[in-house]
């Protein structure tokens, strides 16, 4: 358990798709300003957990609390307004819209004057987006689209990010850039992060704590640095 009060608290979560249960009794929490990573093999239930937290997937059993409010099965729209934002694993931008429109739409729940302010901020932080503001997102490279998705998260005035595989498909240089950006956001803006990441090494590098999921259950909860010190991780997967 984190020393600080948890901003997100998941207790005894059960969920799945159709009749297929994919997550069994998962409990985890993320503290304010903390980076927590969820690792595990493909199909272990990591993304499923994030989606349930975001309100994109119905919770079968268990409870989810955010900022000390019960948000189990509340709509994603309501969760966005509360300050929760999820960046999807694939299709994480609106490909048919321009960069500027992507950012604008991400600020759907934000007041418009405030949105203009954040947008300046985002363009400052991610100059590549400013240069490409008129470009259709679908025509950008994978790395640029990732940057855009982070920019979109900022536009939604999120206090907490749920990141699903932010490094997927990116060259190592870009992976480090994205991770650096996340670290920066946490350090400068006090964001909290729950991250699913295939690139375990990178994830553990910036995370405070880690959970290992296997076949829909949490098998290990550990300090990120401690986990990183292990000689090998195969037996966890």
């Amino acid at each position: 358990m984190p020393a600080i009060d948890p901003i997100l608290d998941i207790a005894g979560l059960h969920t799945g798709y159709g009749s297929r249960e994919a997550v069994f009794d998962v409990s985890l929490s993320v503290g304010e300003g903390e980076v927590v990573t969820l690792v595990g093999h493909n199909g272990a239930g990591k993304t499923t957990t994030l989606k349930a937290a975001m309100g994109l997937l119905a919770v079968w059993a268990g409870e989810i609390r955010f900022l000390d409010r019960r948000i189990t099965n509340s709509s994603s729209a309501a969760n966005v307004r509360r300050g929760l934002c999820m960046l999807l694993e694939d299709d994480f931008v609106f490909r048919d819209l321009t960069v500027a429109e992507n950012l604008q739409l991400a600020a759907f729940t934000t007041a418009s004057d405030r949105a203009a302010e954040i947008r300046r901020d985002v363009f400052e932080l991610l100059p590549v987006l400013a240069d490409r503001r008129g470009q259709r997102a679908g025509t950008m490279s994978g790395g640029e689209r990732r940057m855009l998705s982070v920019g979109m998260a900022l536009m939604s005035e999120a206090r907490m990010l749920l990141l699903d595989e932010p490094s997927l498909g990116l060259a190592p240089v870009l992976v480090e850039q994205v991770m650096g950006l996340i670290e920066q956001l946490v350090a400068e803006r006090g964001l909290s992060v729950l991250m699913v990441e295939q690139n375990v090494d990178q994830a553990l590098r910036i995370a405070d704590r880690a959970y290992v999921l296997r076949a829909g259950r949490i098998v290990v909860e550990e300090d990120a640095s401690a986990l990183r010190q292990r000689s090998q991780w195969w037996d966890l997967f």
Partner: protein, 302 residues
């Protein structure tokens, strides 16, 4: 079918009907463009095979007729018809399609429910308003001539209003916050959801806009012809075909599809006898589906 006409009056030159037919094509194509946009915005966003859009069209037309019969001026009748249709369209989404979506109904089932809704609705319209055609009273119509081209002022008006509505919708989608949200849902509904854009709300919105246009179209149509309970089917089919010719998901495509359809139907009369022109649309649809199933102007290749 046309007999050589030169024998008796060689002085009156016969340029053939082509220019007039092209002109007619432009006018009717403009109307189709609006109908296509009205259906296209609903279909490409919600993917609902909304056959009962025909009913929305009819409801709008009768609302306009009733308003005009009550003595309201033409423009108020158009507006009232459009509004009535808009609310009707939203109601059909909420009452028919939402329960179906919630039960994850198959495309065929949604389509059939829509058809059923149309059939039942037409019966109600006929019960309330009677089976006979109801003209829209006090429509100002005069003949208009441009050289050898002739049409009525109403036809011109319909074309102008059609483009006005098409441009308004395009501008709304392009520049307004909710227009952007609609495009967002169309592009990536899950992601839009994740950013707090409620799909339910957006669906209601597109049903409102699309039905508004259909209703306005219905009143204009009633002004040109008359209102009858079964009036909606043909315009709806034209809209369907135009959307699929243009390619789903693009307002410009739908509008262009409408124009293409109008021209094709009208110009088809140069080579075909008049009674075959209403098949032209379906032949084109068939060919488009066979040759280029995603539409002539399909915006993306996903």
């Amino acid at each position: 079918m046309i007999h050589p006409a030169t024998a008796i009056h060689p002085a009156t030159a016969d340029f053939g009907p082509a220019p007039q037919l092209a002109f007619d094509g432009l006018l009717v194509g403009s109307f189709y463009a609006m109908l296509a946009v009205s259906f296209g915005i609903i279909f490409s966003t919600t993917r609902t095979f909304h056959f009962a859009h025909a009913l929305t069209f009819t409801v709008g037309a009768y609302a306009g007729v009733v308003a005009a019969e009550a003595g309201l001026p033409f423009w108020s009748a158009v507006l009232l018809g459009a509004l009535a249709a808009a609310f009707f369209g939203v109601a059909s989404d909420l009452l028919v399609y939402r329960p179906l979506r919630r039960r994850q109904a198959k495309q065929l089932n949604i389509f059939l429910a829509s058809l059923g809704f149309l059939i039942a609705g037409e019966a109600v319209v006929q019960y309330v308003f009677g089976p006979n055609s109801r003209p829209l009273p006090s429509v100002p119509v005069t003949g208009v001539q441009f050289g050898s081209l002739a049409t009525s002022s109403l036809q011109i008006l319909i074309a102008v209003v059609s483009w006005l509505f098409v441009l308004l919708v395009a501008a709304f989608l392009r520049w307004s916050k909710y227009g952007l949200a609609i495009r967002g849902v169309e592009s990536n509904a899950v992601l839009a959801d994740a950013f707090g854009v409620s799909r339910t709300l957006i669906f209601v919105l597109v049903f409102f806009i699309g039905s508004f246009l259909a209703g306005a179209g219905g009143v204009l149509f009633a002004a040109r012809d008359t209102a009858t309970p079964g009036m909606g089917l043909e315009p709806l089919l034209a809209a369907f075909i135009a959307v699929f010719i243009g390619g789903i998901g693009s307002i410009a495509g739908a509008a262009v599809g409408g124009l293409v359809l109008g021209f094709a139907e009208s110009l088809g009369a140069i080579v075909l006898p008049g009674y075959l022109t209403n098949i032209v649309a379906f032949v084109i649809l068939f060919l488009v589906l066979v040759v280029r199933p995603r539409g002539l102007l399909a915006p993306r290749t996903t």
